[in-house]
Structures are given as structure tokens and as C-alpha cells.
């Protein structure tokens, strides 16, 4: 049911693990929902120079995390904020319909990490528009 790209990304994910001196950390989801995604960002001159993730969840969630972290590496904070789940889905070659919600977690976690970075720098957090957990997305119907 998954594309080969998804399976490959799930089997050999990149950017796995914690980051000791992250500039921003974001976590979305909950264990009761069955998926949690945690993103660590290292920022220099407004650009993401390093990124790591930890994910508890299904293959789609792990593959989305890996893909999203690969995509935001090198982006400016503004570009990373605008990464959408459609961008992640396209890069993965799509997900089966019931799994699409898993791809929402990655952009949400990245935005949560960016807001954490902003707060640490004394800036106001930006509106995220979604809560991150299953059922909280209007897209989930």
C-alpha cells in the first residue's frame, strides 16, 4: 500500500536522533493517538543548518519526518514555516488516503520548533492553526 519511496524513507530514515544544543524544539501528537513527532532545529543567521527528529508512530509518520527534515535543512526559517504537508506528500510520492493525516505532523512539528526558537529569542510565537494530534485537524473529517 505504500510507495517504494515511502518504504525506502521509512527503512533508512535520515536525521534521526536528538540534538544536544538545539535552538528550537517542537513536539506534536500524543502517545494515545499513536504518533508523536519531535523536531530539533539548529539555526544560524535565520537559516536551518541542522535538523533532527524523533518519531513514535507508523511507517508513514516516520517516513514523513525523515522527508520533512531533509527538506527544511538549509531553508530559511520563513521557508521552513511555509513547508506544507502537500510538499511532504509530493516528495514521498503520495501516501494512501487513510495515512495522509500522518504527513500533517511533520510541518506541525517544524512550526512548533520554530515557535520554540522564536520564544527563546524573545519573539512572539506565530499562529499555527492546528493542534497536531489526531482528530484535531479539520482535514481529518
Amino acid at each position: 500500500m505504500y510507495t517504494e519511496k515511502v518504504i525506502a524513507e521509512f527503512t533508512n530514515p535520515e536525521n534521526v536522533g536528538e540534538m544536544a544544543n538545539a535552538d528550537g524544539v517542537g513536539e506534536v501528537g500524543s502517545p494515545t493517538c499513536g504518533d508523536i513527532m519531535k523536531i530539533y532545529l539548529k539555526v544560524e543567521d535565520g537559516r536551518i543548518i541542522d535538523v533532527r527528529f524523533q518519531t513514535f508512530g507508523c511507517a508513514a509518520a516516520i517516513a514523513s519526518s525523515s522527508m520533512a527534515t531533509r527538506m527544511v535543512r538549509g531553508m530559511t526559517i520563513a521557508e521552513a514555516w511555509n513547508l506544507s504537508n502537500t510538499d511532504v506528500l509530493d516528495a514521498l510520492g503520495g501516501l494512501p488516503e487513510p495515512k495522509v493525516h500522518c504527513s500533517l505532523l511533520a510541518p506541525d512539528a517544524i512550526r512548533a520548533a520554530i515557535n520554540d526558537y522564536r520564544i527563546r529569542r524573545g519573539l512572539e510565537p506565530l499562529e499555527t492553526g492546528s493542534g497536531g494530534c489526531c482528530g484535531s485537524h479539520p482535514e481529518n473529517g
Binding site: P31, Q54, C58, D116
Partner: protein, 399 residues
């Protein structure tokens, strides 16, 4: 699996089984040589008619019933639907209450929910931490309006065997019918419908090395039950439609083989299963075994691995050629884990981390070794990815 042997290590026998060569051989003539319709009058239809009759005897023999009480249908789900809807509709003048358990197969649960929408009331009994229904709970829930009690013989996910004989006795003391879904139990639990006080029993061919799309409902003589499928007079007017003759013949041969030596079969399978469970517990920390320590199907091993999610375990095992199943269903944004695992009191996160391995005749000792080699590595890898794994010192949350 290796480069020389591309077969997967199949450990999902509760989902379905392969067909035994003897079963295929028994069926073969009925596809071509004896293709006649058993309802036709000419002599050419004698053989298919005899094939169906012989299968009816084989099924009856396997569960301690009379051949006239065996009704063939298209599988376990149909048998469950038939038993529950049929008994409810035929007995509604006597009452409108049904008792079942929280851990039944969806073929039972969703049928009961449908009957609730038709005006019946249903009690869903809880189970203990091992997945057992307490017969005292049946006694407490039963009223003079109870027409049917339905409790499975053995659970499909965690393998727990239910005290069906006691439950059947209680149902009968109160004038209610007793149905048991024995889909997972046939060939693993010796069944005697009289001793177990069962009035209606569902079984399914493909769970015991028979063909898919075949099943049977045992209906004790004298039981009031409506039909679901109306049409011709097949199955003595109870289930219309031209008989699936090859399938029925295969079901008969398969149940005969599966019940010939249940004890010996269980001994062999349980020895492998126990080694698997011991090996997993010894090599993977933060693991629990779900289900009953003793009262469980010989082939069932159900684990919860903390900090990881079931589907990712499943797909990782699949990448190594191991077929298994999980109670975690991350889909449609609901991510609701197995109702069975929640009913035994597992926290959601542990229910999400469940893995079911069900052994069978496709397995040998090597398969256990292989799983014990691969599984710790798979769980270890996923735990290294998971933010829940405690060995990673957690970064303080920023609210």
C-alpha cells in the same frame, strides 16, 4: 527467508492459513469431474450431493453434532451474522436483550450494534486483564428478556480461551440461547457442542487449512432461527444459493484433518510458541505478553513493545520477510487501537505497540530462530527513532 529460499516466514495463521495438499486433492474433482448442481435430479448430480453430505458428516463429527445440524455458508462472518440476527429476529417475542463480550470479533460486535439500531438492547460484558469473561457477570447481566448470549470460544487477537461451558449452562438456566464464535478455536480447542451447551456455533474453513469463502453454522436441533439468505431450498431451506460444492468438500476434509489429533498438534505448536515468547522476553526489555498465561490458543503470541508503534514493527518485519499482525490501526485520523487490547486494560500507547505472531503448520524451528534474530533488532531500531524511549535523556518541554 534467505536468498535461496524466498518464502516468507509466515506467522499470521490467525489471519488465514495455507491449504493442505490433502484438502486441495479432495476438492479437485468437484471443480470439473463432479461439477453438477446437487439440487438437480439426474444421476450426474449424485457425486456432488454425496460430497456435500460427507462433508456435513465430517463437520458434525468434529464438533459432536448431528449432520442435520450443520449448515454451510460462506464463512465465519456470515455464520456470526446468521446466528445473531437469525436468533434475535426469530425470538423477539420472547425478549429483546442480547449479552455478548467486549472482545468479540467485529462480525459479532457490529452485528450486535446493528441489532441495537433495530430496537434490541445489548450488554457488552467486560473481560479481566487476561481477556476472560467472568461467568458470574453473565449471571448478573441475564434477565428474563435475554434471548441470546454470544461469547467466542477463543479470541483472535490474544488467544484467550473462554469458559464457554459455564456460560452456556447459565444461558440455558435462564432460557436463553447460547452462540459461540469458534472461528479461531476449531482445531485448537476440542469442541463438543453438547458438553459446552452451545446452540449455535460459527466456524470458518480458511482458519484450519481449508478454503476461503467457506464456513458453517451449527444450529442445535429445535433452535428457533430466521434465515438471512432467501431463495431456493438449499440447506433444508435455511440458506439459499447453490452449494459451493468444492469449498464444502474442502471444509469437510480440512476439519477432519484439523481435529484428528488436536492435542498432538497443540503440543508441537505450543513448544515453538513458548520458545518464541521466552526468547522475546529475554532479548527485548519493556515487553509484555498479552492474554492468558495458560488458557490460550497454543499458536498465539501477542506482545506489547513499549515506546514503538505496531504498524512500523509490522513493516520492518515485512522488510525481513516475516508476516505478522498488529492491534494498532493508524488510519483515517482516528488511530484507534484494538478494542481487545483496550478491553484488557492496556493503556493506548501500549495497545499501539502490539504485535501478534500466530504459528501454524507453515512454521518450523528455524522460523522461531529467525524471528528471534530479527525482532530485537527491529524493536531496537524503532526505539532509537522514538522520542518515548527513556534511555534518551529527554529535553525539557517548552510550553
Amino acid at each position: 527467508m534467505n536468498d535461496l529460499d524466498p518464502r516468507p516466514v509466515y506467522m499470521d495463521h490467525a489471519a488465514t492459513t495455507f491449504m493442505k495438499p490433502e484438502v486441495i486433492a479432495a476438492m479437485a474433482p468437484y471443480f470439473s469431474q463432479y461439477f453438477g448442481n446437487p439440487s438437480s435430479l439426474y444421476q450426474f448430480s449424485r457425486e456432488p450431493r454425496k460430497g456435500v453430505a460427507a462433508a456435513r458428516e465430517q463437520v458434525a463429527e468434529a464438533i459432536g453434532a448431528n449432520p442435520g445440524e450443520i449448515n454451510f455458508c460462506a464463512g465465519g462472518s456470515e455464520a456470526d451474522n446468521w446466528a445473531i440476527k437469525g436468533a434475535a429476529l426469530a425470538n423477539r417475542e420472547h425478549g429483546d436483550h442480547i449479552i455478548t463480550s467486549a472482545i468479540e470479533h467485529h462480525a459479532v460486535l457490529h452485528t450486535c450494534e446493528w441489532l441495537e439500531r433495530q430496537g434490541f438492547s445489548v450488554t457488552y460484558l467486560p473481560v479481566d486483564g487476561f481477556g476472560r469473561v467472568d461467568p458470574a457477570d453473565v449471571e448478573e447481566a441475564i434477565t428474563n428478556r435475554t434471548i441470546l448470549v454470544s461469547v467466542m470460544t477463543a479470541n483472535n487477537e490474544i488467544g484467550t480461551i473462554q469458559p464457554v461451558a459455564e456460560i452456556g449452562r447459565i444461558a440455558h438456566e435462564h432460557g436463553a440461547l447460547f452462540h459461540s464464535d469458534a472461528v479461531q478455536a476449531v482445531g485448537a480447542v476440542p469442541i463438543d457442542v453438547d458438553a459446552m451447551e452451545i446452540d449455535l456455533l460459527s466456524l470458518s474453513g480458511h482458519k484450519f487449512y481449508g478454503p476461503k469463502g467457506t464456513g458453517a453454522l451449527y444450529i442445535r436441533q429445535g433452535t428457533r432461527i430466521e434465515s438471512l439468505i432467501h431463495g431456493g431450498g438449499q440447506e433444508r431451506g435455511r440458506r439459499a444459493g447453490t452449494e459451493n460444492v468444492p469449498g464444502i468438500v474442502g471444509l469437510g476434509r480440512a476439519i477432519e484433518l484439523a481435529t484428528a489429533d488436536i492435542e498432538g498438534h497443540n503440543r508441537r505448536i505450543a513448544a515453538m510458541r513458548d520458545r518464541l515468547v521466552r526468547g522475546v522476553l529475554a532479548s527485548i526489555p519493556d515487553t509484555r505478553v498479552n492474554g492468558h498465561p495458560k488458557e490460550r490458543l497454543a499458536n498465539n503470541a501477542n506482545f506489547s513493545f513499549r515506546y514503538v508503534e505496531g504498524e512500523s514493527i509490522l513493516l520492518s518485519l515485512d522488510a525481513h520477510g516475516i508476516c505478522a499482525s498488529t492491534g494498532s490501526a493508524c488510519s483515517s485520523g482516528s488511530s484507534e487501537p484494538s478494542h481487545v487490547l483496550l478491553a484488557i486494560g492496556l493503556p493506548r500507547e501500549e495497545a499501539h505497540g502490539s504485535l501478534r505472531l500466530t504459528l501454524g503448520d507453515a512454521n518450523a524451528k528455524d522460523d522461531i530462530d529467525y524471528v528471534l534474530e530479527v525482532l530485537p533488532e527491529v524493536i531496537g531500531r524503532l526505539r532509537r527513532i522514538s522520542p518515548l524511549t527513556p534511555s534518551c535523556p529527554r529535553i525539557p518541554e517548552v510550553d
